[in-house]
Each structure stands twice: as structure tokens, then as C-alpha cells.
């Protein structure tokens, strides 16, 4: 049994040590390929291999199988019918009966015939060939190193001088240089925009008119520009609420009245706001992104101007109008003829600067006191956003204020209720003015007080 144990432990130690040697030689191979001197790595590898031999010997000895386990292996290898293991297990019985004594004698008799050196030979691990292959590779690499020096730096040097590689990589290099030049051009463009903005700021000191006192078409244009500015901010900030960030001081600067100018002005005002609040420390990439957004918004506004001229936008949407444009037109125009006759909103909201509504064309919720302006001043996408907000409110079960109207659109399209979200001075409810309530919560508050009054 001792002989069997020695051989089992020796085989286990050999297996563990070979694994350690393989790992060490692999690391040594890398070191020889990279380093200029191989003396240090070789000495270190020898030390590691020696230490690994000791450590694996200790590990193999402490994880050696028990006597019962050894007996089972011996039974299995020598086909002894579990005689040895049974005898080992019952060896500690103090007073064995006749059968146990006979079993022990039988086991010892069979054990004497067993040749442990034949059953458990000292054999190399099954993956020993890996060690040989690694040693061969190490010898070849050492020979190469002694003649040419370290392999990897030499290969890198050769690769750098190789014409084939240069030909191979030249289109890629050209593409990289082109990308760099494009980036530099964008950075210059951003710098030019910043310069223009600073010049315009010095020309227009920011005297802001008080909010809530708009007059005439200037106020309407300002509101439209404000909405466009918030839309531009939504595009730039990806969902940041527009009302909280749009400074009111930027509104008077955009009095030209055309949507394209309003959008350009809003984008410029956003940059001005960021620089004024100390957040203008943008990186080159951010500036380039901002410049691209400006260009895109300019192009978009140009398309809208060409597609929605005042003459065409004043026409009611017909059955042929589709998708977003028809929806936006219906929400702004409210082309239901009898809604104006009902007069649900115009009397209560007053009229200041509205144009005379043409029956069947310019009637609807937007006419009257609301700052909603002619369709050419309002971005159709924004109108669509407004309608979507109201649809979302309806989905929560809220049916809307009683004075609101619905607009009929062409058959097959959706009916989109209108909601005026612009700041309005409405009659006080229970002593509280609605100016202090944010517009988005105004209808809720009003509805709350109406229900609480009941």
C-alpha cells in the first residue's frame, strides 16, 4: 500500500509540475521575444520551475488519497473484487468475527500477488508533448535571439520599412487625414459662429419686456419664436423641457416673424444662453455637433417655408392632405365650420390681434385670444407635439376643458383635439390667478377647483 501511495503521489506531482513548467516556458517565450537580454528571464524561469517543483510536491502530498481510496484504486486496477477496500474499511474493527477474519486473510493473500510497480508505473503525464514543443520553440527563439536580437522589435522594424505594408495601409492613412481635415473645418465654422454671436450680443442689449404683456403681432411672433426655440432645444438636448430653459430675454431679438429666422435665432440664443450661464465650455466635438444642428435646422426651416407658404397654409386641409402636415394644419386651423358659430372660446378669451376668420377656414380654437398665430409662424411639428400632449392627457381619462373644440380632418385620419398651451390670462378661480400656475398644469388646477366647488 505504501508503494502504491508513493507512486500515486509521484504521478500526481509530476502532472502538476509539468503544468507549471508549461506555463513558465510560455511566459519565458514571450519574454525572450520582447526583451533584449535573455539572461534575466532564463534565471527567473529556472527559479520559478524549482519553486513550482517544491510547491507541487507539497500540494500532491497533502492531497494524497486516503488508504481506503488507494485500496479502491488497487481493487479496480488489479480486479480483486473489492477485497482490499473491504479489508481496509473493516480493519479497525476491534473484535472481528470469523467472516471478517477470513475476509482479511483473503485480502492479504490476494494483495501479496499484486505488483504495484506494474499496476501503478511512474508515467509521464498524457500532455507531456506540450512541454517538449514549448522547449523546442524556446531553443529556436534563443538561437534567433543570439543572432538577430529580440524577435518582436525586429519584426516591427521590418514592418515599418516594408513597402508592401505601406501600400496596404496608404488608403487608410489618407482617409484618416481627410477626416482630420474635415474636423478642423467644422471647428473653424463653430468658431466663426461664436464670433458672430458675440458681435450680435454687443449690438443688442438685453432689455426684456415683461412676460404676459404681449402686444399685437410682435407678441405673436415672439411666442412663435419662443416655441421654435424650445423645439430647437429639444432637438439639441434630446428631450430637455423647453420652457424651463428658454430665456425670455431671447424672445425680443426675433421679431422678424418668419419661422426660419425664428429657428435660427433660437439656435443662436441657445448658444448665447449657454455661454451666458457659464456652460459654454464646450469641446470641439460639441461645437461641431452644434454647428451641424444649426445647419440642419436652417435647412429644415427652408423646407418648411417653401412647403407652407402663407397662401397655401391658409387653405383648409382637404382629403388629400396626409400625415403630419394634415394633422398640423388641422390643429392650427381648426377647420370645423360650425365651431366658430358656437362661440365657446372666443367670447371668454377676448380678441386682440386676431385676423378676421373666414368661415370654414380660419375658425377654431386657435382664433380669439390665444397667441396662436397664422400657420406660417408655427412649426407643424410643434403643433403635432401639442396635439400629442393632449392625446396623452386624454389617455389618462381627462376629457379636457369644456370650451375646447375638436377639429375634423379628412376621412381616414385621426381627430386631434386642440389645446392652447400658451400663457393666457384667464379669470381667477377662487381668488387664484392662473398666471402663477405653469401652463401644463393649468387645466388640471382649473378642473380641480371646478370639482372642489361642486
Amino acid at each position: 500500500m505504501r508503494e502504491v501511495r508513493k507512486r500515486v503521489v509521484a504521478n500526481r506531482w509530476l502532472g502538476l509540475w509539468v503544468v507549471c513548467c508549461n506555463c513558465t516556458i510560455a511566459v519565458l517565450l514571450i519574454a525572450v521575444m520582447l526583451m533584449r537580454s535573455i539572461r534575466g528571464p532564463l534565471i527567473a524561469a529556472l527559479a520559478v520551475v524549482t519553486l513550482a517543483a517544491i510547491a507541487t510536491a507539497i500540494a500532491a502530498w497533502y492531497t494524497k488519497p486516503s488508504a481506503y481510496g488507494l485500496a479502491q484504486r488497487l481493487d479496480h486496477e488489479s480486479h480483486l473484487g473489492d477485497r482490499i477496500s473491504t479489508a481496509v474499511y473493516f480493519w479497525t474493527v476491534a473484535k472481528p468475527d470469523e467472516l471478517l477474519r477470513r475476509q482479511r486473510a483473503d485480502a492479504l493473500a490476494h494483495l501479496a500477488k499484486v505488483q504495484p510497480r506494474e499496476l501503478f508505473p511512474l508515467q509521464a503525464p498524457p500532455k507531456m508533448w506540450r512541454t517538449g514543443a514549448l522547449l523546442v520553440a524556446l531553443a529556436a527563439l534563443c538561437a534567433f535571439h543570439s543572432v538577430y536580437g529580440p524577435a518582436i522589435p525586429r519584426l516591427a522594424e521590418k514592418a515599418a520599412r516594408s513597402r508592401t505594408l505601406a501600400t496596404l495601409f496608404s488608403p487608410m492613412t489618407r482617409a484618416i487625414e481627410f477626416a482630420r481635415a474635415e474636423k478642423k473645418g467644422l471647428a473653424d465654422l463653430v468658431a466663426g459662429n461664436d464670433h458672430d454671436r458675440q458681435a450680435s450680443e454687443t449690438q443688442k442689449p438685453g432689455q426684456l419686456p415683461p412676460t404676459g404683456q404681449p402686444t399685437g403681432s410682435a407678441q405673436a411672433t415672439a411666442n412663435a419664436a419662443k416655441l421654435d426655440m424650445s423645439q430647437a432645444q429639444q432637438m439639441a438636448n434630446a428631450g430637455t423641457p423647453s420652457e424651463g430653459q428658454a430665456p425670455s430675454g431671447a424672445v425680443p431679438n426675433q421679431q422678424a416673424g418668419t419661422p426660419a429666422n425664428a429657428q435660427n435665432a433660437s439656435a443662436t440664443d441657445q448658444q448665447a444662453t449657454q455661454s451666458a450661464t457659464g456652460q459654454g465650455q464646450q469641446s470641439l466635438g460639441q461645437k461641431a455637433l452644434q454647428a451641424l444642428e444649426n445647419l440642419m435646422s436652417s435647412a429644415l426651416s427652408g423646407q418648411q417655408n417653401s412647403g407652407q407658404s402663407p397662401s397655401t397654409a391658409s387653405q383648409p386641409p382637404n382629403a388629400g392632405t396626409t400625415s403630419m402636415q394634415a394633422m398640423a394644419g388641422s390643429s392650427q386651423i381648426a377647420s370645423v365650420p360650425n365651431q366658430a358659430a358656437q362661440g365657446q372660446t372666443s367670447n371668454s378669451q377676448g380678441s386682440q390681434n386676431q385676423t378676421t376668420p373666414t368661415p370654414g377656414k380660419h375658425t377654431g380654437a386657435g382664433n380669439g385670444t390665444s397667441p396662436w398665430q397664422p400657420r406660417d409662424a408655427i412649426d407643424p411639428q410643434l403643433a403635432g407635439n401639442v396635439a400629442k400632449q393632449h392625446v396623452a392627457l386624454q389617455s389618462t381619462g381627462y376629457r379636457g376643458p369644456p370650451g375646447k373644440e375638436r377639429s375634423d380632418v379628412a376621412p381616414g385620419t385621426a381627430q386631434i383635439p386642440l389645446q392652447d398651451l400658451s400663457p393666457q390670462r384667464v379669470t381667477t378661480v377662487n381668488g387664484a390667478g392662473q398666471d402663477s400656475v405653469p401652463p401644463r398644469y393649468r387645466q388640471y388646477v382649473q378642473n380641480y377647483f371646478q370639482h372642489s366647488g361642486k
Binding site: 479502491q72 473484487g81 473489492d82 477485497r83 477496500s85 473491504t86 479489508a87 474499511y89 473493516f90 468475527d97 470469523e98 467472516l99 471478517l100 477470513r102 475476509q103 483473503d106 485480502a107
Partner: protein
């Protein structure tokens, strides 16, 4: 009173010799069928019952009759038929008239009261009559009219059944099957064996079998058998085998796919006791895994119930048990 566990050396050594003598006597009348004979002898020494299954004419009844002659035991045979009643097997109470004219009720023992009972064609009788054997096979006693009658030891039931002509038969219930230690399949004899059979049975020479083993000797051998030591890893192997026959033990296994109910603990007891007997008959004093593997099919094939998928795929209990044993061996 607990019997002493010490066995004298001559008794231990005599087990294998005596069984060899029995084999020699049986071989005078039975040609071949070595595995069946060995299984029957192991069951006798382990104290269990045997179910022999085979087509007619293979010598099942002949084997049991020869065994009874060899063992010098009280032998009785019951031919099970559909109209057989439990009282016909167990016995009944009859009116007995004394010499003075007084009439009393007296229990008339049935053919069950013997040492070696041959239950021929056991699957041809009704389950009610089949169940009459339950108490006798497990507890070695019979209760009639509120009175329990103990059976003589050793008591051994060797039943036969025919796998063909299943019309009008009553397959044994699971509880009845579980009481059989082994279910042995009687194979068709080989060519040379068939020649021997023809020579022995078609000539004038009569075969005489001597009794070489008595009932008390069998009981003493049973006591010795239980003293055979078993190493823990062998016992663990038995447990693993029995557990592996249960479908709920391991998912994605053969048992989970084809077995509806696995072996009962009696299966493990059978493997262990049979392994001890086989070890002694092989000249060893300890149970080996080889003994367990040798007795695996005969011990467990009637203790597992296959599901519909197994029947549809044509799988047999022997196939599944061999597959299970191979997987357990790999562990």
C-alpha cells in the same frame, strides 16, 4: 433471542461446497439453464421467492421439482386457474367429527403449507387469489378466521408464468411482483443443450436425484450470508442504482424519459442480499460491485414500471437497467 453472529470455519466453507453439490444434482435432470439455477439457489439462500418466466416446454416445472428433490423439502404444487379461490391455496375451516360424534371446526391447511411451493401459471388466476399469497410470501404466515398460522421455514415460492397467450390472464399486481426476490427469464436452450435434453428424456434411463441439502442447513446458510461484510462504496453503488431508476431523481435521464415508477427499497435489499450470497458462492468473503452488476437485471426488472413512451419506443426494462448501470458506473 439474538443468534450469535459467529460462524464456524467449516460452516462458512461448506456453503460453497454444498451449493456446488446441489448444482451437480440439479444438472442431472436439467440441461443448461445455469443462470436460472444459480438465481434460484441464490434466492433460496437469501430467503426470497422467484418468478420464472418463459415459454412452455423449457423445463420450469421440471427445475422446481428437481430442486425440491435435491433440497429434501416439503414440496407442493398449485396449478393456478381462473376459478381457483384463495381458500384453495391457503386452506379452509371444515367440520370435523370426533370419535364420540362431536362435531368441531378445524382448519384444513392448503397447499401453501409447505417448504417449496410451485405456483404454476400464476398469472392465470384472479388477482383475489393471487393476493392470497401476499401475507404468506412476506410474513411467512397465514391468517384464516382470525387465527394466524405460521408457515414452516424455509418457505419458498417459485412461480411460473408464460409471456405468451396473454388472453384470459391477470398480470400480477405491483405489490405481488415486488415480493419476488428475482424474476428470472428462462431462455431457450442452446443447440448442444437441446441434444442433451433429447438424449436424457427419450431414453429408458431414469434420472434419480439425491437430496443433498436440508431445511436446517438452508437456515444456517441464510444466517451466514447476512454476516458477509460490505464496503461502503459497494453499498453506495447499490443506492445509486436504485435511486437512478426513479424518474424524479434526475432530469433528462433515461429514467425520466421511460420509467413511470422506480424500484422500491426491496430492490436495494435484494441487490445487497443477493450480492452477499453470490460472493460466498464465488469464494469471496466480501461483496463486490461485480456481484451487484451480475444481479441487477433479475433483481430490478420486475420492480420498475415503464411508461407509454417506453412501450412505444420498444424499450424493455433490461435495456433501461443496463443503460442506467452504465451511467452510474461512469460516475
Amino acid at each position: 433471542m439474538k443468534k450469535p453472529a459467529i460462524s464456524t470455519v467449516p460452516e462458512i466453507e461448506s456453503v460453497a461446497e454444498t451449493v456446488a453439490l446441489v448444482r451437480a444434482e440439479i444438472s442431472k435432470a436439467i440441461v443448461g439453464q445455469n443462470e436460472v439455477v444459480e438465481g434460484v439457489l441464490i434466492a433460496i439462500l437469501a430467503g426470497g421467492h422467484v418468478l420464472l418466466e418463459g415459454v412452455p416446454g423449457l423445463g420450469k416445472t421440471m427445475l422446481v421439482r428437481t430442486l425440491a428433490q435435491t433440497l429434501a423439502l416439503k414440496y407442493s404444487r398449485i396449478q393456478f386457474t381462473p376459478d381457483l379461490m384463495p381458500a384453495d391455496v391457503i386452506g379452509t375451516t371444515v367440520i370435523h367429527e370426533n370419535g364420540d360424534g362431536a362435531k368441531t371446526l378445524r382448519f384444513q391447511p392448503g397447499p401453501l403449507f409447505s417448504n417449496l411451493l410451485l405456483a404454476d401459471e400464476i398469472n392465470r388466476t384472479t388477482p383475489k387469489t393471487q393476493s392470497a399469497l401476499l401475507e404468506a410470501m412476506q410474513e411467512k404466515q397465514v391468517t384464516v378466521g382470525g387465527v394466524t398460522h405460521l408457515l414452516d421455514e424455509p418457505f419458498l415460492v417459485i412461480a411460473t408464468q408464460n409471456p405468451l397467450e396473454m388472453e384470459g390472464t391477470y398480470p400480477l399486481p405491483e405489490a405481488q411482483l415486488d415480493r419476488f426476490l428475482f424474476k428470472l427469464r428462462v431462455p431457450f436452450p442452446q443447440r448442444s443443450e437441446l441434444h442433451d435434453i433429447l438424449d436424457r428424456t427419450t431414453q429408458k434411463a431414469e434420472v434419480s436425484v439425491n437430496a443433498v441439502l436440508t431445511g436446517p442447513q438452508i437456515m444456517e446458510m441464510r444466517r451466514i450470508v447476512r454476516s458477509v461484510p460490505v464496503a461502503p462504496h459497494v453499498q453506495d453503488y447499490v443506492v445509486q442504482i436504485v435511486m437512478a431508476t426513479h424518474p424524479e431523481t434526475e432530469a433528462n435521464s433515461v429514467a425520466a424519459k421511460y420509467i413511470r415508477y422506480g424500484s422500491s427499497p426491496r430492490g436495494a435489499q435484494t441487490l445487497m442480499l443477493g450480492g452477499k450470497v453470490r460472493a460466498l458462492l464465488e469464494g469471496r468473503y466480501n461483496v463486490s460491485i461485480d456481484d451487484i452488476q451480475a444481479l441487477l437485471l433479475s433483481s430490478l426488472r420486475h420492480r420498475i414500471i415503464l411508461n407509454f413512451e417506453a412501450h412505444a419506443d420498444g424499450r424493455t426494462p433490461d435495456d433501461l437497467l443496463e443503460e442506467i448501470a452504465a451511467k452510474v458506473q461512469k460516475k
